[in-house]
C-alpha cells in the first residue's frame, strides 16, 4: 500500500470511529455537539479578544504564551485521557504489515481530525492574526499555523507512544482517574495566577515571552511577529526551529513505535517476586481496636490510599474543605464560620459507603447476619472517617482562626463543626443503607447510568437533613451571639456541639444498622451496576 493510500485509509478509519462513537447514544451525540459549539464560541471569543489586542504592547507575549499553554495541554492530554482517541493506540495496528515511516505520516494526518485540533487551529489562527502586520507576515502566518499545529499533534503522539505501556497498565488507568483533580487544582492555580497578574500588569510577563518566542511551537508565532517587524532572518530561524521540532518529535515517535511493535509486552512477563515485605500497616492494625471494628477501619483506610476513586474523592474533599475557608480568610472576605466547610465536605465521604465497595460488597454481606454485625460494620467505617476528619477539621478551624485572628470564636466554631460532622456521618450511614448506588470503576463518572436521581436524593437530602439536625447547635450559637453577655458562655458550645454530634452519630448508626442487615441483597444489587 502506498503512503497516500495508507494515509487516506487511516483518516477514513478515524472518521468512522468518530461517527460510530456518536451513533452509540444520543447523550454522546449531544455532548459532542455541545463541545463543538463551545469550542467554536470560545475560539470566536478569543479571536475577537486577540484582534482587539492587536497593536497592544503585550499582544506578542500573550500569543506566545497561549501557544505554549496549548502545547503543554497537548503533551499532558494523552496521559490523562488515554481512551479519548481510538487511533491513539498504535499497538492495535501491530498485526498489520505496515512500516513505521508511512504509518507515522498516516497517523499524524488522522490526528488532525477532531475537536482538539479544530480548537487549536482556531486559537493559533487568532494568535497569528493578532500579531501579523503586512503581506509577508500573513504569508508567514499560514506556515506558522500549520507548523505550530503539527508540533502540538506530534508532541501528543510522541508522548503517548513513549508512555503507551504505562497508559494501558493499571497504574496508568489509576492515574487517569486522578486527572479530574489535576484539572480542578490547575484551574484554581491559573485563576489565582490570573488574579495576581490582573493587579501586577501584563508587563511582568514580557521577559518570559522573550524566551518563549524561541521555543516551538511558540517560535512559529514569534516568527510572524519578527517578520511583521521586518526581521526576516530571525523569523526564518524561528520557523525553522518549529519545523525542526516537528521532525524531531516525528523521529522520537517513530522510534518508540518501532520499539513498541517489536518488543514483547512487559505486562505479560512474570514480575520478579519483590520478596516478603512487611508494610507499615502492620503497625497500624496494632493501634486499631480489635474485632470487626478494627478490621473494617483498616480496610477503609487502606482504600482511601489505594483505590483511585476513593482517593480522588478524599483529596477533593480535603482540598475544598481547606481552600474555601482559608482562601476566603486570605482575601479578607472570610468568616470563621466557613471553617465548618471542612467538616461538611469530609462528612460527604460517609455517604454511599457500600457503593464505594462496588460489588465486592458481597464479601461484607456474607459476614453480616444480624443488626449487631451491621452496626459494627458501619461504626468501623465511621471511626475510620473520624480518624482523618476530626484532626483535619480541627486543624482547618484553627488555621482559619489564626488567619482571621478571631480566637474568642474558636470554641463555638469547633463545636459547630463537630455537631455538623456528627450529623453528616449519621445521615450518611442511614442513606448508605437506604439509597445505595453504584460507582463505576472505569472513567470519570461517579454514578452508574440510571442512578443519578438516587445519588442526588442521597447526598442533597442528606446534607439538608444534616443541616436540620444540627440546627439546635446553630440556634444556640446565634442566640449566644445576639444576647448581651452571651460571649461569656460561648465556650460551652464546644463540649455541647461535640456531645451533640456524637449523640447524632450513635443514633444514626443505630437506625442504619437494622436497615442494612435487612436489605443486604437489595444493597448488593444496587451497588453492582458499575
Amino acid at each position: 500500500m502506498s503512503t497516500a493510500e495508507l494515509t487516506a485509509t487511516v483518516v477514513r478509519l478515524k472518521l468512522s470511529l468518530l461517527r460510530n462513537g456518536l451513533r452509540q447514544s444520543a447523550g454522546r451525540r449531544a455532548a459532542y455537539l455541545t463541545s463543538v459549539v463551545v469550542v467554536i464560541l470560545v475560539a470566536a471569543l478569543q479571536l475577537i479578544g486577540l484582534i482587539a489586542l492587536r497593536g497592544s504592547a503585550h499582544v506578542t507575549t500573550i500569543a506566545v504564551l497561549l501557544a505554549e499553554i496549548l502545547a503543554l495541554g497537548w503533551a499532558v492530554m494523552p496521559l490523562f485521557f488515554p481512551s479519548g482517541d481510538e487511533t491513539l493506540d498504535p499497538t492495535r495496528l501491530v498485526m498489520l504489515p505496515l512500516r513505521p515511516q508511512p504509518l507515522i505520516r498516516a497517523l499524524l494526518a488522522a490526528s488532525l481530525v477532531g475537536i482538539g485540533p479544530l480548537f487549536t487551529l482556531c486559537l493559533l489562527a487568532g494568535s497569528v492574526l493578532a500579531v501579523a502586520h503586512g503581506a509577508a507576515a500573513y504569508a508567514t502566518a499560514v506556515a506558522a499555523v500549520v507548523l505550530a499545529l503539527l508540533v502540538c499533534v506530534a508532541l501528543a503522539r510522541a508522548v503517548a507512544a513513549a508512555n503507551v505501556r504505562l497508559l494501558t497498565s493499571r497504574k496508568g488507568r489509576d492515574l487517569a482517574v486522578l486527572s479530574g483533580l489535576v484539572v480542578a487544582v490547575g484551574t484554581q492555580l491559573v485563576n489565582f495566577g490570573a488574579q495576581r497578574l490582573g493587579t501586577a500588569g501584563l508587563g511582568r510577563l514580557d521577559p518570559v515571552g522573550d524566551v518563549l518566542r524561541w521555543i516551538p511551537p511558540a517560535s512559529a508565532i514569534g516568527a510572524v511577529d519578527s517578520v511583521s517587524k521586518g526581521s526576516y532572518g530571525t523569523g526564518l530561524a524561528q520557523l525553522a526551529l518549529s519545523a525542526a521540532a516537528v521532525a524531531g518529535l516525528g523521529t522520537l515517535w517513530s522510534r518508540s513505535l518501532t520499539k513498541l511493535m517489536t518488543a514483547p509486552d512487559a505486562s505479560t512477563l512474570q514480575a520478579a517476586d519483590p520478596g516478603p515485605r512487611e508494610r507499615g500497616s502492620a503497625g497500624l492494625s496494632r493501634l486499631l481496636p480489635p474485632g470487626r471494628t478494627g478490621t473494617v477501619m483498616e480496610r477503609s483506610l487502606r482504600y482511601v490510599w489505594r483505590d483511585p476513586k476513593t482517593k480522588a474523592a478524599w483529596v477533593t474533599s480535603l482540598a475544598i474543605g481547606l481552600i474555601v475557608p482559608v482562601f476566603n480568610a486570605l482575601q479578607g472576605t472570610g468568616s470563621l464560620y466557613f471553617a465548618c466547610f471542612a467538616a461538611g465536605m469530609l462528612g460527604i465521604q460517609m455517604y454511599n459507603q457500600f457503593g464505594q465497595d462496588t460489588s465486592a460488597f458481597w464479601m461484607v454481606a456474607m459476614t453480616i447476619s444480624s443488626p449487631r454485625d451491621a452496626y459494627a460494620e458501619l461504626r468501623g467505617r465511621a471511626l475510620a472517617l473520624l480518624l482523618i476528619t476530626l484532626p483535619y477539621a480541627t486543624l482547618v478551624t484553627v488555621v482559619t482562626t489564626a488567619l482571621l485572628d478571631d480566637w474568642p470564636k474558636l470554641p463555638e466554631v469547633l463545636g459547630l463543626s463537630f455537631a455538623l460532622l456528627g450529623a453528616m456521618l449519621a445521615t450518611g450511614a442511614w442513606s448508605s443503607a437506604r439509597f445505595p448506588y453504584s460507582i463505576p470503576q472505569e472513567g470519570y463518572k461517579n454514578v452508574a447510568p440510571g442512578q443519578a436521581g438516587l445519588a442526588w436524593i442521597s447526598i442533597l437530602g442528606g446534607m439538608v437533613s444534616a443541616a436540620l439536625l444540627s440546627s439546635p447547635v446553630i440556634a444556640a450559637t446565634i442566640w449566644l451571639n445576639v444576647t448581651a453577655g452571651g460571649d461569656r458562655w460561648s465556650w460551652l458550645l464546644l463540649p455541647a456541639g461535640a456531645a451533640y454530634g456524637a449523640l447524632l452519630l450513635l443514633l444514626g448508626l443505630r437506625l442504619a444498622a437494622p436497615r442494612t442487615a435487612r436489605r443486604l441483597p437489595e444493597i448488593l444489587a444496587a451497588v453492582s451496576k458499575g
Partner: protein, 263 residues
C-alpha cells in the same frame, strides 16, 4: 463437621424457588435436595439460571418465591446459622481488589470473627497450598484470572464451612491452577464437607462430581448420582445434549470453502 454431614443427610434443600426479571423468568420453580458430603455439580448452558440459583441459595439475591434451607436452617430467617456454615465464591462479583492476597484473607477471616492468630495461620497454609505464597503481597487487582479464583476460594474456605458454593470456579483458569483447585476441593470433600459448583464444562463435572443436577431454561431437568443422570449415554455431554434437546448442527455445505485447498 457437625450436623447434616452424616450419610443420607441433606446439605441444601430448595423448594419452589422462583426469580423473574421483568418479563424474563430466570429461575422457574426449582425443587432440589442436595445430599451432604458429596461433590455436586450444577451443570447447564449459559443463561440456564445457574448463577441466579446459586445467588439465591447463598443469600446474595432475594428470591421472588420459595425457600432455601442449608443444614436445616432457613437462609432468610436464620442467617446467623447459615452464614457461618457456608463459603461462597460468586461469579462476576469483585473482591476487595486493592488489598493484597494476604490482606484479603486477613480481612475476611477477621470479619468472620476468627481470632487473628488463627486467621494468619490458616491464611499462610492456604496461600502455600494454592501456590499463591509468592504473590501474597501483590494487590489482587494485579492477579490473573486463575489467581483471583484461587484467592477467592481461599477466602471462602478460611472459616472451614460445611458447604462450599463455587460459581464457575474453573472458568478462565489455566490447567495448573485448575489442578491445584481440584486437589484442595477433593481433600475438602473427603473429610465430609459438601461442595456445590456450577459449570458448563461437562468433562470437568463428569471427572469431579459424584452427584449432578442438570439445569436448562430456569428449570432442573435431571438430578441424582452421576451414573443415574448419565443413564445409557456414553458421556455426560451426550446425556446433557439429549436432556436439553440440542442437536448437533450440521456443518454440511455451508462452510465448504473453509480448510485446505483453494484460498
Amino acid at each position: 463437621m457437625t450436623e447434616g454431614a452424616g450419610a443420607g443427610a441433606t446439605a441444601v434443600r430448595v423448594q419452589g424457588l422462583w426469580k423473574r426479571y421483568g418479563e424474563q423468568v430466570a429461575v422457574a420453580g426449582i425443587d432440589l435436595e442436595l445430599p451432604a458430603g458429596r461433590f455436586i455439580g450444577l451443570v447447564g448452558p449459559n443463561g440456564a439460571g445457574k448463577t441466579t440459583t446459586l445467588s439465591m441459595v447463598t443469600g446474595l439475591l432475594r428470591p421472588d418465591q420459595g425457600t432455601v434451607e442449608i443444614a436445616g436452617h432457613d437462609v432468610w430467617h436464620d442467617p446467623v446459622a447459615v452464614k457461618a456454615r457456608i463459603g461462597v465464591l460468586p461469579e462476576g462479583l469483585r473482591l476487595f481488589e486493592r488489598l493484597s492476597g494476604r490482606e484479603l484473607l486477613a480481612y475476611t477471616g477477621r470479619l468472620r470473627g476468627l481470632p487473628g492468630t488463627e486467621v494468619d495461620k490458616r491464611a499462610t497454609q492456604l496461600l502455600d497450598v494454592l501456590d499463591l505464597a509468592g504473590a501474597q503481597h501483590k494487590l489482587v487487582v494485579d492477579y490473573s484470572t486463575g489467581m483471583r479464583k484461587k484467592i477467592g476460594m481461599a477466602a471462602a474456605l478460611l472459616h472451614n464451612p460445611e458447604v462450599l458454593f463455587l460459581d464457575e470456579p474453573f472458568e478462565g483458569v489455566d490447567p495448573v491452577s485448575a489442578q491445584t483447585i481440584r486437589g484442595v476441593l477433593e481433600r475438602y470433600t473427603s473429610s465430609g464437607a459438601t461442595v456445590v459448583f456450577s459449570s458448563h464444562v461437562m468433562e470437568l463435572v463428569e471427572s469431579l462430581c459424584d452427584w449432578v443436577a442438570v439445569m436448562a431454561a430456569g428449570r432442573i431437568r435431571a438430578h441424582g448420582p452421576l451414573a443415574e443422570v448419565r443413564g445409557g449415554a456414553p458421556t455426560l455431554q451426550q446425556a446433557f445434549l439429549e436432556l436439553v434437546g440440542a442437536r448437533a448442527r450440521s456443518a454440511g455445505t455451508d462452510l465448504d470453502w473453509l480448510g485446505g485447498g483453494a484460498r
